[in-house]
Amino acid sequence: MTVTREAVAVPDSTGPTIALLRTLRRGRARKKAASAAYWIYLAGLVVALYGGAQIASAYHAMRHPPLPTAQTPRILHATPAGLTALALLVLLVLLRDGLWRGPVTLPQPGVDWLLGTPVDRGRLLRPRFRGSAAVTVLAGTAVGIVPAAALVALGLGGHGVGHVLRLAGVAVISTGLLFGLGTGTAGLIERYPASARWVRRGTGAGLALAAVLGGLAAWAALGRPPAVLAAVALWSGPWGWAAQGMTALAGGPAPWWPAAIALLGAAALAALACAHHAAAGVPGAALRIRARTIGAMSAAVASFDTRGVALAYGGTAGSRRARLRIRPPRRRELVLFWRDLLALARAPARLAGAAVLTLLAVGLLAVAGRGQVSLVPVASALALAYLAAAWLCEGARLDAEDTRRSENLPFRFGSLAWWHAGVPGLVLLAVAGVPVAVLAVVTGDPWLVAFLVVTVPVLVGGALVNVFRPRSHPDLFGGVETPVGNTAAIMVLLWLALGPVLAVGPMTVLLSGALRSSRPAELVRTVVIGGGLAAGLGAYAAARARRLRSE
């Protein structure tokens, strides 16, 4: 077999090639199987040692499910729309998976060494699809335990173990079929790349529908919407069909649930069959891009590089970049503000997401009100606002990711942390400022504005502490042996999330104390301590930036 001027007969070499690869990689396959068996054994051991009591109590709970409470009827009314909304969100996640990963994937060496050969794509790719689909459907059935357990815990598990098992069985079948439908459809999206455009456009509509269903669930829990709305939700699509069995067995209005499950099953089987047939035709270009993405993402996950994961996903998820231009400033002091504004203007989705998170945080605090405020809503609101601040620190993140980028700027690297605080802080103040000012006027409580002014720098400072975290190194994952065990887990956790720990933790205590109190001394103390905390976090972020530069 050499160079030829004549047409080459296409050989039927698929069988021998796959057999050879299997033979050559037998050692590796054995190692993988041994590793999987070890992990299963380990998981079994952990469950047996530490989960025994929990399993026993779960069995007891199944035999004697919690009785309905005064809240149970409200929860039952919310169940049809609530479960439908959840099922829709799960389906959206599965469909989005088809945009960047999909059920048909080949590892990078497989792409490089086999795709360019005349090996039959069907025999190469269909087993990959079958494997993926089996894993996803199994995961789906495992996920089904969650809503079933939640319904039982909320007093909707009926009487006795038989009813609980029926509810769990229906939940497991419903979610398994839903995952099957999602995987099949994702396979078709992968096969027909032109459909990706529609999935991207449909995601927004799907999220809006989920929000409407969530609103309907809240309305059903608090008021009395027409019964027909629940029926409309349950028959609004496969997501509703998946919710019907659980709704019915929880005591809700879904008399035709067997038909709904049958419909869902038929849709799932049809999608899986079509995707299985179509797997042979998944374009080589798509397989190459996906193999690269999965490789990059796996490497990022293995090194706990959350930024790397986001970048690998963003590279294929089709995130749009706006082409907005902002005139550069004449004063050098403004150049980083300009650069950070540009980073946000070029990724408007980031800005919009941060604004939504900020408004949610303000809304949560407004609902919590003043007086006997518990820590939970305050911590949740601050966590949301912290996420918004972290999203807005994109400019700082770009500099931290590669310290050479800022070498031509007229600033020392350590001082960048301070300069990069400007835009995120101002954006957060602008977004949260209006609703907080309105609240302050309505409640006649000007301190709310002072709390905002002190909270924003703390959160931005925390976000910058995280942005300028040191590079990961093997010692981090080795930990240190102490009398109470190895410190690796806590060290990794702190390495990943020191910023939110330092910002959200103390601020939760401080802000909830201030919201409970009306004494001016307490309020002044909050503002002063908050200001000190912000300055401390800023200085710490600058110190971490200097260390990062010297690494």
Binding site: T2, T4, A7, P109, D112, P118, V119
Partner: protein, 230 residues
């Protein structure tokens, strides 16, 4: 000089746009058996885009790609059988030796009993005989590039598409590469090669195409066309 044989690969008015960015402006190109066309130009000039389209790895936004007289489509079985590509491989099976990689490719192309002989010859020609039992992780980057070139030699090939085959090779290995490609050409293979290396293009190519910002700014015999690069 004998008259040009009919072209094996023909690109007519081929262009490629990514969104509203035009990576390749309309290009015409023909490669015949026993001939070599070199594509040269700065980084980002559109060389790799042109080669990906020519190898059936990408679809042009406009124009037609014909291989052996028929319109080429992505993932075309005939293309996969007859076109050998070097340049877009980025990885290797970490647990397979150099020899096993070549055995895999030979088997996938139906080498049958001739497989071992083909593999031995490819190892010799690519100066990898001493590394047949080595795993990819122990190879230098130049040896990995030689492995990718060897993979091309254990399979049938009427057209060879090479994207910067000289990369990661030292000067002596580049001279060896020029000899290898000349031998392939003389055996009747059609070669389409993107390269930054003027000496390699001059030694192997019959025709040079110079790209800049996705457009052809010069073409012709190597000596003449290379003046366009300056």
């Amino acid at each position: 000089m004998p008259p040009d044989p009919p072209p094996l690969l023909t690109l007519t008015g081929v262009s490629r746009a990514y969104g509203d960015r035009l990576a390749l402006r309309p290009v015409d190109l023909a490669v015949a058996a026993g001939r070599c066309v070199a594509v040269m130009g700065a980084n980002g000039s559109g060389k790799s885009t042109l080669l990906r389209i020519a190898a059936g790895r990408d679809t042009p936004s406009t124009g037609r790609v014909a291989y052996a007289g028929r319109t080429m489509t992505q993932d075309d079985l005939v293309v996969r059988t007859e076109i050998a590509i070097v340049g877009d491989m980025v990885s290797a099976y970490p647990d397979l030796t150099v020899r096993e990689h070549l055995q895999l490719v030979a088997t996938a192309h139906g080498a049958g009993r001739d497989g071992d002989e083909l593999v031995d010859r490819a190892l010799r020609e690519c100066r990898l005989s001493d590394h047949g039992g080595a795993l990819p992780g122990s190879l230098s980057s130049g040896q990995l590039q030689a492995l990718h070139l060897a993979a091309m030699l254990v399979r049938p090939r009427r057209l060879m598409v090479l994207d910067e085959p000289e990369q990661r090779l030292d000067p002596a290995a580049r001279r060896w590469l020029a000899g290898l490609l000349l031998a392939q050409k003389q055996a009747g293979a059609a070669l389409l090669m993107a390269t930054h290396h003027v000496e390699l293009a001059t030694a192997v190519a019959d025709h040079v195409l110079v790209l800049s910002d996705g457009a052809v700014i010069g073409e012709g015999a190597p000596g003449i066309a290379l003046t366009a690069i300056g």
